[in-house]
Point group: C2
Chain length 561, copies 2
C-alpha cells in the first residue's frame, strides 16, 4: 500500500526533505530566552528500538477482517503500528521520541471502499475490537491515539485508500471527495477545475479532507472561506448500526441536523466514507500583507471593526506583543533593511507593537477594492501598513510551525499550542487570563516560559485566540509539565465561558472540559446518539466524551492518557 | 394575560384592521382562472359554534400545573383553546372554518419564566400529558396542531410570556432574546440600538423568535443575512430530563453540535427558553428593484452567476413565467403606465418573461457598489432593469400573501404554498417535476389549477423553490384534494433528491418524507436523542419524526392528521 503517513516522521512532523529550519539567530534566541542547554538534545529514536507489545488482535477478528479487505489491507508490521501509535500532539511525540508506543494499534487496516469500511466496523463491533479512524494522523489532541478502554485489541483504520478522484459539479460549485484524500491533493485536483476548497489548516500538507470534517476544522483562510462545517453539504458515515446518509442539499429545515452530529464526531459514531463539499472559484489573486498596531488591544479593536463592517480579509492574524517580539526575533537577519524597519516602527511608536497579517483572495478587482476599503479603516485606526514583505514571509512559512516544533524539541524545549474562541467583549479578558495561567503554571515548576498568542478566525460576534507556549522541557517529566500548563489553560478557558477548542477538536486531551462545554445533559444526549450508532462502544473509545459517570476532576488528572 | 394570538383571527391570518385585500381586478382574474363561483363563499365561523370536546386534563395535572404557574397561567376557556387548536396550514384553516377543532388542547399554559417552563415539562412528563410548544402559532405544516398520540390530554404551552427586553452586547453584535418575543417586536427593540436580526419570514408580524429557531426558519432577506441557524450562538432548552445549555461562542470544534440538534427540533426535544443571537448593524439603506428576464431559465442562470461571484443581493426572488403572469394580473391597474410597461417588455421580447425582485441593504456606499456590480452582470445576461417601482410594490406587499389566502379561501379557492431546495444543477428539473406533479394531481380531480413558483434564498451550491398552488376547492373534500396535491409534490421532491422543506419545517405534514430525507438510521438516531431528553414522549408528539416502525406508505395516506 502506498502510504503517506509512513513516508513522514513517525516521531515528528512531515518528511525529511526540504524541512523548514530555524535560522541560527532564531535558534540562539530561543536557547537564550528559554535557558536551553543544547547538550541535552536527544537523538531521534530508532524504529527497531521502540518498545512495542505483541499484537493482540484475536485470531477470529484477524481472519474475518482479512477476508473483508483486499490483499495487504491488514498489516501488523512495526512501521505500520508505530506510525499510528499516536497523532502529533506534544505528549504523543514525547512518548515516541522516548521509544514508547504503549498505545500502538494491534493492526492497521486499510480499506479501499466504503463497503470494506462497513465490514470492518461491523466485525469489530461484533467481536469487541476498538476501531480508531486515521486520516492524516495529524491530531494534536490525542484524537487518533488508540485507547482500548476495556477492549482486548484496537485497530487503526487508515482511510488513505478512500481517495478516489474528486467529482466536480461545476454548475453547483460542489465536489464529491473521498475522506482519505489529502487536503493538498484535493486542492490540486480542484485547482485543475479552477476551483478551491479554501481550507488551509497548518496541517494542510498532511491532513485529510475527512479529518477536516471529523474534527470540525478551520484553516488560515477561514475568516474568508468559512469553517469546514460551512462547506459540508452531504456525507455518508459507516457505523456499527449501518450507514448514515446526509443528502447533499444547499439548506434544509427538515428537523435537527444529522450532518452537524457527524461533523466533529471524531470517529466516535462511525467512519465518514463520502463527502460532498461546497467549493469556490479559485482566486485570481492571493495578496498577503503586514500591518502594525501600537498594541494588541488596538489591533483587536481594528479587527472587530473590520469584520463587523463586512470588511474582513480572508486571512486575518494579529499577534500579541509577545508573539510579535518572538516572531521578529526569529525572523531577524540583522540586515540594514531589518534595522531600518525597526527604526521606522520605533519612530512611529510601534516599537513594542503588534504585528498583523491580512490576506485578500478572489477576483483581482474585487480583492483590490476590499483591500483598499480595509486599508482606509486601518489607517484611520492608527495602524501602519508594512507592505507585502511580511505577507510573503508569512505565506512562505504558513505550514512551517510543526516542523520547527521538532527542532525545538530536539533543542530541549516544551512547545505546544492551544486555541479557543469567545465574544469580542470577552476577548481581551480571556487573552490575559489564559496567558497568565499558562505562564504561572510553567513558572511554578521552575521554567522561564514564553507564551505568545494571536487572534485569527474573525466572526462578527468574536474571534479565536491561538496560544503558543515555549519553555525548557523537564527531561523525563515532560508530560507532567505539559499537563500542568494544559490544565491551567483549560480551567481559565472554561471559567471565562469560552470554548475549549475552536479548531483543534477534542480528542483525548480536551475531554476533561467537555462537561463544562456542553453540560451533563448534553453529554448524555451525545452518549445516547453514540449508543444507537455504536452500541458496543468500539468506535474510537475514550475520545470526545468522558465516560458516563466519569468525574471531571478525575479526568483532569489524566489530561493525556 | 396579554395575548397576541388571540388578537388575531383564530380561523385565519392576522387581525381585522388594515388587512391587505385583492384588487377587484385581481379578484376577478382569480375567479375567472380557477372557475370559482362566488356564491359558494362561506361565512366566517362563530367561536361559539365551534365543536369542542370538554377539556380532559386530569385533575392532578391541572392542580400541579396551576400551582407551578403565576395566577391565570392555566386557561381552559373556549377562545384560548380554539386559538391554539392548530397553526395556519391550509388543513388547519379548513377545519377551523368548518367549525371543527378536534385537536384543540385541553388547556393553554402561559409560563412567565424558564423555571415555570421546566415545571410544566416535568409535570407533564411525569403524568403523561402531551405538551405542544406554541410561539406565534404560524406553522403552515401542522407543527403546533396538538396530537395526543395515546396521551389522555394535551396542553398548548404558549411562550408569549417569555419575551423580556432584548439584552444587547453591542461590541459583540449579539442579543439575548426571549423565545416568545415576536419577530417584529425584537426587530423594533434591536432597531433602537441601531441593530437588526435581518430575519423577515412572511410570518414576520406574527411569528416569534423562538419559533424561528425551533423551525430552522429562513426569511426574505436570508440570501444576505443568512438563515436563522446562522445566527444562533447559544440557547437553553428545558426538557423533561432537565436543562440543555449551549454556551454562546462564535464557533467551536468541541464535538458534534448540540446547538444544531435543538435548532429545528420543533418542540419534540424540549422548549427553547433563551436565545443568544448574532445581530447586524441596521442597514442605512434598503433598496428593492425589479428586473425582467426573457425566461425563468435565463433568470436562474443569472441568479447562479450572481451568487457564485459573491455578487448576490440580500433579497433575491425570481418568479417563473406562471407566477409572473399571475402577479402582473393581480397587480394590474389598467393605467397608461401599466400599458406602457407591458408594451416595453413586449418590444424587448420579455412579454412572457420572468420577473425578479432584488434587494440591497447595508451601508449606502457599499450597497450602491454591490448593486452596480450586479447590474452590470445582469445587463450582460440580457435582463431588463425595471427600476424601483416593482421593488416598492413587493416591499409594500411582502407580508400580504397569508392575508390574501383568507380572502381566496372566502372565494372558494384551495390555496397553499410549499418549498424545497436543491443544487443549481438540479433546479430546473425539480421545478418542472414539482409543477407538473401538482398540476396533474389537481387536474386529475377536475380542478383547473394555477401553479406558480419562485426561486429565492440563493446559495453558492443551489437555491430554494417556493411553489404556490391555486385551484377551486372541492367543497367538503378540501383536505383530500389538498392531500393529493401535497403527496404528489412530496414524492416529486424526494425523487429528485431535494429536501422536503427549505424553511417551513416538518411539523405533521412533512413526516411522510422524513425517512427519505434522513434515512431509517437517521430517524433512529433522532429517536434516541429524543428518548434521552423526553423519555415519556410527551414533547410535541407526532411531529417531525414518524413513529418508530411507522411505515412511510401509511404516513403518506394521512399527510395531515
Amino acid at each position: 500500500m502506498s502510504d503517506a503517513t509512513e513516508r513522514t516522521r513517525w516521531w515528528g512532523w512531515g518528511g525529511e526533505e526540504g524541512r523548514p529550519r530555524l535560522s541560527p539567530a532564531g535558534a540562539a534566541l530561543v536557547t537564550r530566552e528559554l535557558g536551553l542547554d543544547e547538550r541535552e538534545a536527544p537523538l531521534p529514536p530508532e524504529l527497531e528500538s521502540v518498545a512495542l507489545a505483541e499484537p493482540s488482535l484475536p485470531g477470529e477478528a484477524a481472519r474475518r477482517l482479512e477476508a473483508g479487505l483486499a490483499p495487504g489491507g491488514l498489516r501488523t508490521d512495526r512501521l505500520a503500528r508505530v506510525a499510528r501509535a499516536g497523532g502529533k500532539s506534544y505528549p504523543d511525540l514525547v512518548r515516541l521520541r522516548a521509544g514508547q508506543a504503549p498505545a500502538a494499534p494491534d493492526a492497521v487496516l486499510r480499506p479501499s471502499s466504503p463497503e470494506e469500511v462497513a465490514t470492518i466496523v461491523e466485525v469489530c463491533s461484533e467481536l469487541g475490537v476498538a476501531v480508531v479512524p486515521f486520516g492524516g494522523g495529524t491530531s494534536v489532541v490525542g484524537g487518533v491515539t488508540p485507547r482500548r478502554d476495556g477492549f482486548e485489541a484496537a485497530v487503526s483504520l487508515d482511510l488513505g485508500g478512500l481517495s478516489k478522484a474528486v467529482e466536480v459539479d461545476r454548475r453547483s460549485l460542489t465536489a464529491r471527495v473521498g475522506p482519505g484524500t489529502l487536503g493538498a491533493a484535493a486542492e490540486a485536483e480542484l485547482g485543475a477545475h479552477g476551483l478551491t476548497l479554501g481550507h488551509f489548516p497548518q496541517s494542510y500538507e498532511l491532513a485529510t479532507v475527512g479529518g477536516y470534517v471529523a474534527t470540525r476544522s478551520a484553516g488560515q483562510a477561514s475568516t474568508g472561506y468559512g469553517r469546514i462545517e460551512d462547506r459540508v453539504l452531504g456525507l455518508r458515515c459507516e457505523t456499527p448500526s449501518g450507514r448514515l446518509t446526509v443528502n447533499p442539499v444547499p439548506a434544509s429545515a427538515a428537523g435537527p441536523s444529522l450532518r452537524e452530529l457527524v461533523v466533529g464526531s471524531e470517529g466516535i459514531l462511525g467512519v465518514i466514507t463520502d463527502l460532498t463539499l461546497a467549493v469556490e472559484p479559485a482566486p485570481e489573486v492571493r495578496h498577503y500583507e503586514g500591518w502594525s498596531f501600537r498594541s494588541f488591544a488596538e489591533g483587536v479593536e481594528a479587527f472587530r471593526d473590520l469584520v463587523q463592517a463586512g470588511a474582513a480579509p480572508d486571512v486575518a492574524r494579529l499577534s500579541d506583543e509577545e508573539e510579535t517580539r518572538l516572531s521578529k526575533g526569529l525572523a531577524a537577519t540583522g540586515s540594514a533593511a531589518d534595522r531600518a524597519g525597526h527604526a521606522y516602527l520605533r519612530l512611529r511608536g510601534h516599537a513594542d507593537g503588534a504585528l498583523a497579517i491580512l490576506g485578500w483572495e478572489g477576483e483581482s478587482r474585487v480583492a483590490a477594492r476590499r483591500r483598499s476599503r480595509a486599508a482606509r479603516m486601518l489607517g484611520a485606526a492608527g495602524a501602519l501598513a508594512l507592505g507585502e514583505g511580511p505577507g510573503r514571509s508569512w505565506a512562505r512559512n504558513r505550514y512551517a510551525a510543526p516542523y520547527l516544533r521538532d527542532e525545538l524539541m530536539d533543542m530541549g524545549a516544551l512547545v505546544d499550542t492551544l486555541e479557543t474562541a469567545t465574544s469580542w467583549s470577552g476577548l481581551l479578558g480571556l487573552h490575559a487570563a489564559v496567558s497568565a495561567a499558562v505562564r504561572t503554571a510553567l513558572a511554578a515548576r521552575g521554567a522561564k516560559p514564553v507564551v505568545g498568542c494571536h487572534v485569527s478566525h474573525l466572526y462578527e460576534s468574536g474571534a479565536s485566540l491561538y496560544f503558543t507556549m515555549l519553555a525548557r522541557a523537564e527531561r523525563g517529566h515532560e508530560i507532567e509539565q505539559w499537563s500542568a500548563a494544559k490544565r491551567a489553560a483549560g480551567e481559565a478557558i472554561v471559567a471565562h465561558g469560552a470554548t475549549i477548542t475552536h479548531h483543534h477538536a477534542v480528542g483525548s486531551d480536551h475531554r476533561p472540559w467537555m462537561e463544562a462545554e456542553v453540560g451533563v445533559l448534553g453529554l448524555e444526549v451525545l452518549h445516547a446518539a453514540k449508543a444507537r450508532l455504536d452500541p458496543n462502544g468500539v468506535m474510537n473509545p475514550g475520545k470526545v466524551l468522558p465516560g458516563q459517570g466519569e468525574a471531571r476532576a478525575g479526568l483532569a488528572q489524566e489530561v493525556s492518557p
